[in-house]
C-alpha cells in the first residue's frame, strides 16, 4: 500500500478509527487495538485502548495472543478483526459472536470463499494456547484451529441471520483493502443508506418523518439533515446511545434520531 493501513483516510477519519468505532458501537465490552512495537496510531474513539505487542514480526497469531490476553479479565469472548475492513457491519459481528456457544472456542467464518481468521470470534481463554503454539514456532492460525473446537460458518449459515442478510447480503463485511486499487475502489463506493429522523425544534416543515440519506458518519448524516451537532443538538443511534461524535461510523440500516439536547419540562 505504501502507507500504514491504519492511517488510510476514511470519510474524515481513518480505517482504524472506523474499525474500532464499529466494534465499540456493537459490543458491550472493551475494545483493544494491538499495536506493533513503537507503532504510531491515528486518533481512536474514546474508550478504545491500545496494548503494545512486545514482539514484532510474528504475524497475526502474536497479535491475537496479546489482544485476547488484554481483555481476558473483562470478557469471555472477543471478536477479532484486522484494521482494513471498511465495510464491516455490526450485524456480522453479532452473528459471529452468537456462534460462540458453550463448548465452542472459535467462530470462524468461511465467507466469500475464504477462511476469515481475522474476522472471527475467539474465547479469550485461548490466549495461553496461542502463546504456547507461538513458542513452538506455530505461527499460522490453522494450527490453532487444530487444537480447539471451531464452529465454521458458511455464507449460508451467516446469511441465515435475517439482520445480516438484510444489511450485508453479499458479506462485504469481510472485504479487505490490500492494494491501492482496492482502497480506491472502496472509496468510490457510495456511503451506506441510513434513515434520519429529526425531533422537536429540529423538525421543521414535517422534518420529523423518517427519510433515507446516504452518510458514512454521523456528521455526514447531520449535514444531510441541515444540522450541526453541538451542545443543543445530539443524536441517538438506533434508539440507543446518545452522542455528538461526528466521526461515528454509520452502516446500512442505521436509524439516526436528531434530538434537542435541552430536554426537560
Amino acid at each position: 500500500m505504501g502507507r500504514p493501513k491504519a492511517w488510510l483516510e476514511w470519510h474524515g477519519s481513518t480505517l482504524l478509527h472506523r474499525a474500532t468505532a464499529v466494534l465499540a458501537r456493537t459490543v458491550d465490552g472493551p475494545v483493544v487495538v494491538v499495536a506493533a512495537p513503537g507503532q504510531e496510531l491515528p486518533p481512536l474513539p474514546s474508550g478504545v485502548s491500545v496494548v503494545e505487542d512486545p514482539v514484532e514480526g510474528l504475524g497475526p497469531m502474536q497479535g491475537l495472543a496479546v489482544g485476547l490476553e488484554a481483555v481476558a479479565d473483562r470478557a469471555e469472548t472477543a471478536f477479532v478483526c484486522s484494521t482494513d475492513m471498511p465495510f464491516l457491519h455490526p450485524a456480522f459481528v453479532r452473528r459471529v459472536l452468537r456462534a460462540l456457544a458453550p463448548g465452542t472456542d472459535v467462530a470462524l467464518p468461511v465467507a466469500r470463499g475464504f477462511r476469515q481468521p481475522l474476522a472471527a470470534g475467539y474465547r479469550t481463554a485461548l490466549a495461553g494456547l496461542v502463546k504456547d503454539l507461538l513458542a513452538k514456532g506455530d505461527l499460522r492460525p490453522g494450527m490453532l484451529f487444530k487444537h480447539c473446537e471451531v464452529a465454521r460458518l458458511s455464507d449460508e449459515e451467516l446469511l441465515a441471520d435475517a439482520e445480516l442478510a438484510r444489511h450485508d447480503p453479499t458479506l462485504e463485511s469481510v472485504i479487505n483493502v490490500n492494494s491501492p486499487d482496492d482502497y480506491a475502489a472502496a472509496r468510490d463506493r457510495p456511503p451506506p443508506e441510513v434513515v434520519v429522523e429529526c425531533f422537536g425544534a429540529l423538525a421543521r416543515n414535517g422534518g420529523h418523518r423518517p427519510r433515507g440519506v446516504r452518510a458514512a458518519t454521523l456528521g455526514a448524516a447531520a449535514a444531510e439533515a441541515g444540522l450541526t451537532l453541538n451542545r443543543h443538538v445530539v443524536a441517538a443511534l438506533n434508539g440507543d446511545q446518545v452522542t455528538r461524535d461526528e466521526a461515528l461510523p454509520l452502516v446500512a440500516g442505521d436509524t439516526v434520531a436528531f434530538l434537542s439536547a435541552d430536554a426537560g419540562g
Partner: protein
C-alpha cells in the same frame, strides 16, 4: 435595613376560627443570603415553623407561599413563587413553583413569604394586602374549579386581587391536589390538599408597596441582555413546540414510560406528538407573567374549546395509561385542571390501578390500559373521593398499594410516595439516581440529571461515578434556580451559570456574592431539605426506586437491554452521599447542621 429585593420579613397568618390573625416574622439578612428565597427560604421556614412529625393535614402544619429578591424585577421568568409545606402525599418536604402575577402581588404585600396555619371554621378565602389580613367565608365557592373560583373571587372582591385557589380535589384533600392561579399550577406533592385542610378555597393578594433593588440601572441592563439571550437556540424547543416536544424524541430513545413502566416505547406516540399536533391542532402560544420564552402551547379540542398541553400531562395520561387518542388525553388533562389534580400523580396512580385490575388484584374490570373513557371515570372517582376506587386512588399509588397488597408496591411508580415523572430510570441512569435521592421524591424539576443522560457525554445505560457527579451538579443548579427564582427553561442560556447567577443576585441585593458562595448555597439548601426529611422520619431506605426498576430489565428498541440492579443503584447512592458529605446512612454531618442556621 433589608437587602435589595427583600422586605426582611415573612407574614405568619393564623386562620383558626372565623377570623385571621397575623404577625410579622423577621428574616435577618444572614438567613436571606443563606437561602436566597423560594424553595430555599421555604425549606428554612418549614424547619422553623413546622412542628416535628406534624400531620401535613393538621391545622398546625404550615403552608408557605415564598417569594424571592428577583420577583418583581424585569428579569425574564422571575415572576415565580414557591409553595412549600410538608407533603400530604409523601409525609416529607414538598415544594412547587408556579409563575403568575400572584408572585408579584404577593411579594408586594410587603413580605418575602406568607405562611398560613390553622383551620378556618368553614370554607373561606384569605385576603392579604396593605391593610392586613382578613378571612371571608366563601361557601358559594365549594365544588368550583380553581379557575371558576378565581373568577368568582375577582367578581366579589375586585379585579386588582391575584388569586391562588384549589379545585374540588383540594377541598376533599386528595393527596395530590394542586394549587392553581391564572391556569398554572403548584402541582406536585399535594399542596392543594394542605390548603384544603385549612378550609381555604383561595388566597388573594393585592400589591400595596414597592421594593427597591441595589442597582436599578444594572438590573435593567441585565434584564435586557437576558431577554435577548432567551430568544436563542437554548430555548428554541420550548418556544417552537413546548415541552411536548419531548414525547416523540423520548420514544425514539426508549425512555418514554408506557403502561405503568412496563415498556419505554409507545406505539401510539406519533398520535400524541407535538410535531403532529402542532400542524393539525396548534392554535396559540402563551407566556407566564414576565417571561419572554413563551413555552405554553395550546391545542384545539375536537368538539370545541382548547387545552394547554405539556409533556408531563400527556405522558402521564397518555402512554403511561396506554391511551393514544389525543382527544381522550386532552379531556383527561382538562379534567385534572377542573378537579385540581397533579396530572403526573393522577396518571401514575391510575396506571398502577390499571395494572392491578388487569392482574386481578382489584375488582374493577372496566379499568384497562388504553381505555380513555376508563381513565376519565377513574379521574372523576378520585376527584369525588367516591367510596371504593376513588377513595383508594385519592391516597396516591404508595398508600393504595399498601392497601391492595399482593406485591403491588413493587410496581407502584413512586419514590417516597411521589409518582415518577416521564423519564424511564433504567435507560436514563443518572436520572435514576436523581429520582432516588431527591428530597421531594421522584421528581424531574429538583433533579435534572436526565440532561447528562441525553448529552452524549456518558453512557446512559451504565450508571457510575460520572452519573453521580451529574446528579449532584444538576441538583445544585436546581436548588439555586428554584430559590432565586428563575425558570429552568432558561438554564441553557447561561454559559457559566453560577457566575452569571451571582452577578444577577449582586445587582438586585447589593451582596458581594460570587459563584463559589452560590455553590455553597446550593449545597446548604440540598442539605437543609434532607435534614428536614430526616427529622420527619426519612431514612436511607427511602433513597431507592420501585422494585420493578431494579429487577426487570427493559428491552430497548435497538435490541439492547437496559438493566439497573439494586447493587448498581446502591453504589451510586453511596457515591452521592459521599459527594454531599453525608454519612453512610445519608445523614447530614453535625458540623454541617450548624451551617443551616436552624437555631436561634
Amino acid at each position: 435595613m433589608a437587602p435589595g429585593g427583600f422586605f426582611g420579613q415573612a407574614l405568619v397568618v393564623d386562620v383558626a376560627g372565623g377570623e385571621a390573625s397575623s404577625a410579622p416574622y423577621e428574616l435577618d439578612e444572614r438567613v436571606l443570603r443563606a437561602y436566597l428565597g423560594g424553595v430555599g427560604l421555604g425549606t428554612w421556614l418549614m424547619h422553623r415553623l413546622a412542628p416535628p412529625r406534624v400531620d401535613p393535614l393538621a391545622p398546625e402544619a404550615p403552608l408557605a407561599f415564598v417569594f424571592s429578591s428577583l420577583v418583581g424585577t424585569p428579569l425574564t421568568t422571575s415572576a415565580k413563587f414557591a409553595v412549600v409545606a410538608k407533603s400530604p402525599l409523601t409525609g416529607l418536604l414538598t415544594d412547587a413553583l408556579a409563575s403568575s402575577q400572584f408572585a408579584i402581588a404577593g411579594k408586594l404585600t410587603g413580605h418575602d413569604a406568607i405562611v398560613i396555619r390553622g383551620r378556618a371554621d368553614e370554607l373561606s378565602v384569605l385576603l392579604i394586602d396593605g391593610d392586613g389580613v382578613r378571612l371571608e367565608p366563601a361557601p358559594e365557592l365549594a365544588g368550583l374549579s380553581a379557575a371558576e373560583a378565581e373568577s368568582a373571587a375577582k367578581e366579589r372582591f375586585g379585579r386588582n386581587w391575584r388569586t391562588a385557589a384549589i379545585g374540588p380535589a383540594g377541598e376533599r384533600q386528595v393527596r395530590y391536589a394542586t394549587i392553581s392561579h391564572d391556569g398554572r399550577h403548584a402541582g406536585r406533592g399535594g399542596l392543594g390538599a394542605a390548603m384544603g385542610a385549612k378550609n381555604l378555597k383561595a388566597v388573594l393578594v393585592r400589591a400595596a408597596t414597592k421594593v427597591s433593588v441595589a442597582d436599578q440601572a444594572g438590573v435593567l441592563a441585565a434584564a435586557r441582555d437576558l431577554r435577548r439571550r432567551s430568544f436563542g437556540p437554548a430555548t428554541a424547543k420550548y418556544r417552537e413546540l413546548g415541552t411536548l416536544a419531548n414525547l416523540l424524541a423520548f420514544n425514539a430513545v426508549s425512555t418514554l414510560p408506557t403502561r405503568n413502566f412496563t415498556a419505554a416505547t409507545f406505539e401510539g406516540a406519533p398520535r400524541l406528538a407535538a410535531e403532529e399536533l402542532h400542524e393539525l391542532r396548534g392554535v396559540a402560544r402563551n407566556s407566564c407573567a414576565s417571561c419572554s420564552i413563551g413555552c405554553e402551547h395550546i391545542y384545539s379540542r375536537k368538539g370545541g374549546g382548547s387545552q394547554r398541553m405539556e409533556y408531563e400531562n400527556v405522558f402521564a395520561l397518555g402512554p403511561l395509561c396506554g391511551v393514544s387518542d389525543p382527544d381522550e388525553v386532552f379531556a383527561a388533562s382538562a379534567r385534572c385542571d377542573e378537579l385540581g389534580l397533579d396530572t403526573i400523580s393522577a396518571g401514575g396512580t391510575i396506571a398502577w390501578a390499571m395494572e392491578c385490575a388487569e392482574r386481578g388484584l382489584i375488582d374493577e374490570p372496566w379499568l384497562r390500559f388504553g381505555d380513555g373513557a376508563a381513565l376519565l371515570r377513574a379521574l372523576d372517582a378520585i376527584g369525588e373521593r367516591s367510596p371504593g376506587l376513588g377513595e383508594l386512588l385519592a391516597q396516591g399509588s404508595r398508600r393504595a398499594a399498601e392497601v391492595v397488597g399482593h406485591g403491588s408496591i413493587d410496581f407502584a411508580p413512586q419514590v417516597k410516595g411521589l409518582e415518577l415523572p416521564g423519564y424511564e430510570p433504567r435507560s436514563l441512569q443518572a436520572m435514576a439516581l436523581g429520582l432516588a435521592v431527591n428530597a421531594r421524591g421522584a421528581d424531574h424539576n429538583r433533579s435534572g440529571a436526565y440532561e447528562a443522560d441525553l448529552s452524549g457525554d456518558l453512557d446512559r445505560l451504565a450508571g457510575g461515578a460520572a452519573h453521580v457527579a451529574a446528579a449532584v451538579d444538576t441538583e445544585d443548579r436546581a436548588a439555586v434556580m428554584d430559590s432565586m427564582i428563575l425558570c429552568k427553561f432558561l438554564r441553557g442560556v447561561f454559559d457559566d451559570p453560577f457566575t452569571e447567577w451571582a452577578r444577577l443576585l449582586a445587582l438586585v441585593t447589593g451582596w458581594q456574592v460570587d459563584a463559589a458562595e452560590l455553590r455553597g448555597t446550593a449545597r446548604r439548601i440540598v442539605r437543609a431539605k434532607r435534614a428536614f426529611n430526616l427529622r420527619e422520619g426519612a431514612t436511607a431506605a427511602d433513597d431507592t426506586l420501585p422494585a420493578r426498576m431494579l429487577e426487570t430489565p427493559l428491552e430497548l428498541g435497538s435490541g439492547r437491554r437496559a438493566a439497573l440492579d439494586a447493587g448498581r443503584l446502591r453504589s451510586m447512592v453511596a457515591g452521592y452521599y459521599a459527594a454531599r458529605g453525608l454519612d453512610e446512612e445519608g445523614r447530614v454531618a453535625a458540623a454541617d447542621l450548624a451551617d443551616l442556621l436552624l437555631d436561634g
